[in-house]
Symmetry: D2
Amino acid sequence: MAKEIKTIGVLTSGGDAPGMNAAIRAVVREAIVKGLKVKGIKRGYAGLLQEEIVDMEAKDVSDIIERGGTILQTARCMEFTTPEGQQKGAEICKKHGIDGIIVIGGDGSFKGAQKLAALGINTIGLPGTIDLDIACTEYTIGFDTAVNTAMEAIDKVRDTSTSHERCSIIEVMGRGAGYIALWCGIANGAEDILLPEKYDYDEQKLVNNIIEKRKHGKKHHIIVNAEGIGHSASMAKRIEAATGIETRATILGHMQRGGSPTAKDRVYASTMGALAVDLLCEGKTNRVVGYRHGAFVDFDIDEALAMKKEIPEYEYQIAKNLSI
Amino acid sequence: MAKEIKTIGVLTSGGDAPGMNAAIRAVVREAIVKGLKVKGIKRGYAGLLQEEIVDMEAKDVSDIIERGGTILQTARCMEFTTPEGQQKGAEICKKHGIDGIIVIGGDGSFKGAQKLAALGINTIGLPGTIDLDIACTEYTIGFDTAVNTAMEAIDKVRDTSTSHERCSIIEVMGRGAGYIALWCGIANGAEDILLPEKYDYDEQKLVNNIIEKRKHGKKHHIIVNAEGIGHSASMAKRIEAATGIETRATILGHMQRGGSPTAKDRVYASTMGALAVDLLCEGKTNRVVGYRHGAFVDFDIDEALAMKKEIPEYEYQIAKNLSI
Amino acid sequence: MAKEIKTIGVLTSGGDAPGMNAAIRAVVREAIVKGLKVKGIKRGYAGLLQEEIVDMEAKDVSDIIERGGTILQTARCMEFTTPEGQQKGAEICKKHGIDGIIVIGGDGSFKGAQKLAALGINTIGLPGTIDLDIACTEYTIGFDTAVNTAMEAIDKVRDTSTSHERCSIIEVMGRGAGYIALWCGIANGAEDILLPEKYDYDEQKLVNNIIEKRKHGKKHHIIVNAEGIGHSASMAKRIEAATGIETRATILGHMQRGGSPTAKDRVYASTMGALAVDLLCEGKTNRVVGYRHGAFVDFDIDEALAMKKEIPEYEYQIAKNLSI
Amino acid sequence: MAKEIKTIGVLTSGGDAPGMNAAIRAVVREAIVKGLKVKGIKRGYAGLLQEEIVDMEAKDVSDIIERGGTILQTARCMEFTTPEGQQKGAEICKKHGIDGIIVIGGDGSFKGAQKLAALGINTIGLPGTIDLDIACTEYTIGFDTAVNTAMEAIDKVRDTSTSHERCSIIEVMGRGAGYIALWCGIANGAEDILLPEKYDYDEQKLVNNIIEKRKHGKKHHIIVNAEGIGHSASMAKRIEAATGIETRATILGHMQRGGSPTAKDRVYASTMGALAVDLLCEGKTNRVVGYRHGAFVDFDIDEALAMKKEIPEYEYQIAKNLSI
């Protein structure tokens, strides 16, 4: 029979993402509405092991839905990757009366949640990463905000590229995944998009394309380059040498992780946060929440971690077609 | 056998929406890539009847993906609601060699497209409205931008409401539909949301809720009111009289229709625009493009117009739970 | 000899304005650096009379420079307009050891500061109002943010006005003063600007201008109307009737009071806040800080309240010239 | 006696800056109102020498006031730095009937204007640069927008720095000048500001300050570094090694040059553009327009180029005081 849940914990882990605060707020308030107590665990698994655990009331999450970052903060934790660390974490949960725990983070964070589940702490994972690189879900908390932040920055770069008739390489985040780059590529009308998932990167082709489009009267040439390919600065130098066209690189960097979340990130993170609490109330454990085929759903964490995800071919193709 | 398409037309109809320009750009460029000619029809069906028709090249849609409004403009047209007007429209299409036409607009605009289809002009509809009130699709061009615009405005109203410990009613667009109001309600953490689809509007309950939350220490009380309910100014006066709490109404108005589109609106509108061209190339007609269950799909217009759509219950419920 | 200042109080009064938090932060931190104690007085003079007074440390003003509103809140207070109320206020200051007080607000708030000064509490006023209607200064805290907020909203209205070939009247704040309207009029390239300070408002001329510009091919007609003139909704109806051109009114409302302050508001409010502390340290009282002729200066409050301010003629004239 | 001006030219030169389009629009429309003809010269002095000269009407500058970049584009031109190039430029002006020319750019561009003035073409310079490094004026076109763009990006970096308890170095533009860095330093509440004008840069002091503030509970440490100091990436590595605190560098780059101009940049650039035309009509030449001591004024170019400008001491000091 399912364990009755009276007190839950919530933590954010891995890289922070806009919308994590909206999710925390939803967890806290939905839990209170459902008659549960909530404890906030600071600084991810590191804070769990150091017992940085605080009671959370409805008013503790007032005026945070619109704020970037995570009020619970986040940190990496080597100790928690060891069986001893995991055992210690589960014991600390029990000591504080935490029956269930909601972990907001990426695949790495879910692996920790799996271990806690195996040790008797009910766990639900929420996909929180700007990179969209979680296979079981079409949505991750923070992606929409990060894409809009990058897109707005690239709009600005485009203005000055046009004034100076420059080629501009803009490197966006995403670690090994090209989703932010693909979305910005389409949204900014980029002349070229470089994704780690696509093995057709060929600098000579790129150079030819720049020269070709310049001949046809394009006043700028915007290349959106994914972090997973990187090396934007040296690429800019080689392109300038090969084309004779002034070329500049910009690496947008950590600004993509912050900022007030978009409506989508606030609404979806809120819904996922509430749903995670409801799943704990139903006695579920070792699950991760996703958004798939138009609905919020949940998967076994083991199953979720085994899934694969690919860059959508149609969107990648039209990105090319529309850049003429 | 399917008619071969050589030349297509594109028009925007009904209220404008951010992302329409991204869709127009995608139509023009995808068509050129596919070897078609494109003609832009100005001012919707009105411009069709007045033969305001211009050739469009790839460069005519440069630097518009990031712009609000519609470069083709839009207008209402009574004449086109008559059989004579529709007949005239179809003849003008033929005169200009237009084999297929892409209509970006709402349900009303699709009814016009249906008539043209019946008269032998292949037609594809794209859902373009900030109101999200098209039943066959979970996404409409402009909704995401409009929600973010309204949300950012409400964030600002909230600042000053907190400073003055006020109650604020903010009326958002949506005509008969409450989707913008629901999304803002969640995204802004509103204390109350009033939707035309929900018949539980009871001003005494609202007044009690305001008094109750003030007692519990809330420094502001934000009510997001849908256009379909309206009457925000008189509501504010009655609430102030009943609660003794200073209450102000703001009607956000037409700013919600403009502005540079969000990443989602740019990417989805671009994809839909390209897809509409591809559907015409496949010989399809009398179809409307939608986004449903995580994929871009198309429906027969008759079927699409017969569908029904409802406010999602779970989201509506958690909006209430999270406002404690 | 000047009284030695050991403890200061700070309050915000009148309508809130973005940048007030930056000023509060500067007051608190500059005071601590100068060895003073700081007390925050909540809800303006109302909170003073109710002794809502809290100690403030450097960390109490962390992460507020970027936030709209005022963390000290604000309220109107009839009692403080009476000699008895003022006497009570001065006594409460003395009881709490407050030797000097910094009042952030408009002319009305400065009158209160004058009275406290006369009763032996050293006072410095900082100009905090979005309306720019303080004669002794070319800058007031919040004006720059409010103008940018209004301007961005009007940019959006313009998009949709162009799509629909509409006339749009947008009413901006400013109470009796037309500065926000003048700035938006220039910044948005408005076709007409209506200011309370200019007695040339003539609706027939306006109608003629609209018709004339439409003939010359203008696709929209933007009228920025000041709150001090108002009546935008009825004006829209009359203009539509007289011109036959669809005309809509938008009253931007309280969103203009909120939002994260602009760089100018943060930098100038910070400088003024620090300067106010330094003036108290120098033993000054009954002064108001202004920005004039390119420098931060201070005036006797009596003198400041007697000054007059006018709409700059050259800017008003070029607003007209550039709208052709 | 002053030469009568019938036709004027306008060009943008050097790095582009938001607000240049507002200035161009003002030049064109004020000139038309004053009965002059206007010619747009593309790509700065380079375009002048290549006779890229087009007639400009009022409608050619419609809908550009809100756009970043410069519709006239800009380029560097070595040839125009030679007496032969300057002679050729003056002759081309005469050939096209250009009696006066308005040059929007920085000190380098004004030197070109000086030469044209000496060769009989009346010239007026407008200060257009995001760097604020023009001594004769307190305002340059583009500075306000660039500062706000950088500030908003740094706000976002701060969110994620707080979540991860990081030190972040953000490098902002400004070439040899530290004005953008100083303004952002104050506006973002940076813990440290590094300016090329201040010779007190001492990395050990910086490291000590970081460690000290961390001990006092600061969750992030933001260092705004000016382009004129640079080397942010290597600095980050050394600081991380010395403090043991994770440290990341972001170089904001060219996004600071683009984007829709702020209200101040639109209003001041419009006023300066109109004033430049009025000065030409008065027969003035070899002048540069500035904003000083609260008024728009003009200086002899020789005199303007000889002036010196310094970082304001009071603001620099309070930036330090307020970072406690």
